[in-house]
């Protein structure tokens, strides 16, 4: 199971952050060639990200590059350079329709062929940042077999919706739900928007708990300080792990006795409960918890 709990934004023209991006152990690092780079530095940022990706070893951390849109003068050159720099994922901003993804995919494929690389190696992610994109989320998610996830970009979205962000996030609930539902239906990851008020730790934790409860796979983060709190909230608790182990144990027992209806502590255990338990254990393992040891303890 690939974890994408945290995707750390790294401005593409910041040499210091580029150098240190991997030491904070986010699940992914995202080098940004778009909004965090001023128009007169697009070329230098491209050179910097290109050289970093072709030289530095990010120690197995997933590398993502947010390119400029194809409606800008920079998007095509970004693709030419980044296909050769070979990040794991290219992220397209402000995706409105499935065609936006298909257009990017076509250019990537062209460059992959020109370089003699295996076609399809570079994966794609779409950031959905407007009302049309939200309504097209499912088609966007299915637009290419390279798609690994869709992400909400809330700042542009709320502006288009003629509102602003609130601590409760009620104004983006529809967009979050649409994106999440589309991602689940398409079988790809759903990544939540950034939390910009970096000094409001309590507000940040509330938001992470909310998106975890909704079912998101992770969140874009804008400072290394936001990484560990997200990982902590996404890590299953001991109680959840214990319950998951018990569920799998009673299922195993029931299978050996060929019994039909199964219950645990007076509650029926059916397929969704088993799937949830398996996911809890998978997430715990991926988070670095030694489940085999816990299983041994449990079986003793």
């Amino acid at each position: 199971m690939k974890l994408r709990r945290t995707m750390l934004y790294v401005p593409g023209n910041n040499a210091g952050m580029m150098k240190d991006a991997h030491i904070y152990r986010s699940d992914s690092v995202m080098f940004d060639l778009e909004d965090s780079v001023s128009l007169n530095e697009k070329d230098t940022a491209r050179f910097l990200v290109f050289n970093a990706l072709t030289t530095l070893d990010y120690g197995g951390i997933e590398t993502v590059v947010r390119i400029n849109g194809l409606d800008s003068p920079y998007g095509r050159e970004d693709i030419r350079a980044m296909v050769r720099a070979r990040p794991n994922v290219i992220r397209l901003p402000k995706t409105e329709t499935a065609q936006d993804i298909k257009d990017v995919e076509e250019l990537i494929e062209e460059e992959e062929k020109a370089c003699g690389y295996e076609v399809g190696t570079i994966k794609l992610m779409a950031a959905i940042e407007g009302p049309l994109g939200v309504l097209n989320a499912y088609e966007i998610a299915l637009a290419s077999t390279r798609m690994i996830g869709i992400a909400l970009g809330a700042e542009d979205y709320v502006t288009s919706m003629k509102t602003k962000r609130s601590p409760e996030g009620v104004e983006i609930l529809f967009a979050r739900s649409m994106i999440l539902n589309a991602a689940r239906a398409a079988g790809i990851y759903a990544i939540d928007t950034v939390y910009a008020d970096v000094n409001n730790e309590e507000g940040f934790l509330d938001e992470v708990k909310l998106i975890h409860q909704l079912g998101f796979d992770g969140k874009s983060v804008i400072t290394p300080r936001q990484i560990q709190p997200v990982h902590d909230i996404f890590c299953p608790t001991n109680k959840e792990i214990d319950h998951a182990l018990k569920v799998l144990e009673v299922i195993k027992e029931a299978e050996s006795k060929q019994s039909g209806v199964i219950s645990l502590n007076g509650k029926m255990v059916d397929k969704p409960i088993v799937e949830r338990a398996e996911r809890v254990l998978e997430m715990a393992k991926a988070s670095g918890i030694n489940i085999d040891e816990l299983e041994d303890d449990y079986n003793e």
């Binding site: 910041n14 040499a15 210091g16 580029m18 150098k19 070329d43 230098t44 491209r46 050179f47 910097l48 290109f50 050289n51 970093a52 072709t54 030289t55 530095l56 050159e77 030419r80 350079a81 050769r84 720099a85 020109a114 370089c115």
Partner: protein, 98 residues
Amino acid sequence: MKIVKTGMAGSLESSDVLITVDSNPGKGRNVNLNSIVKRQYGKQILKVVDETLEQLSVKDAKIRLEDKGALDCTIRARLEAAVYRAAGSESYPWENLT
């Protein structure tokens, strides 16, 4: 590549380098390095500059570096950007830079 104007790239922030490339017709390469780590890494920095200029086929240029502890890949990136700016070129042969 032929340098036709002044090109600059980079910054004076920590881990970065500010590079200025100027024309120097018929006089070869003239590299001026100012670095906080010149004593430790000066030779290595100049080697990276030389290799990069060679790769970009820059014969005549004045290069000034204000280094704040940049990695080799950052020096290369900033120098490439400054040279392309100084050559007035926006056609980047990424395949040769890989």
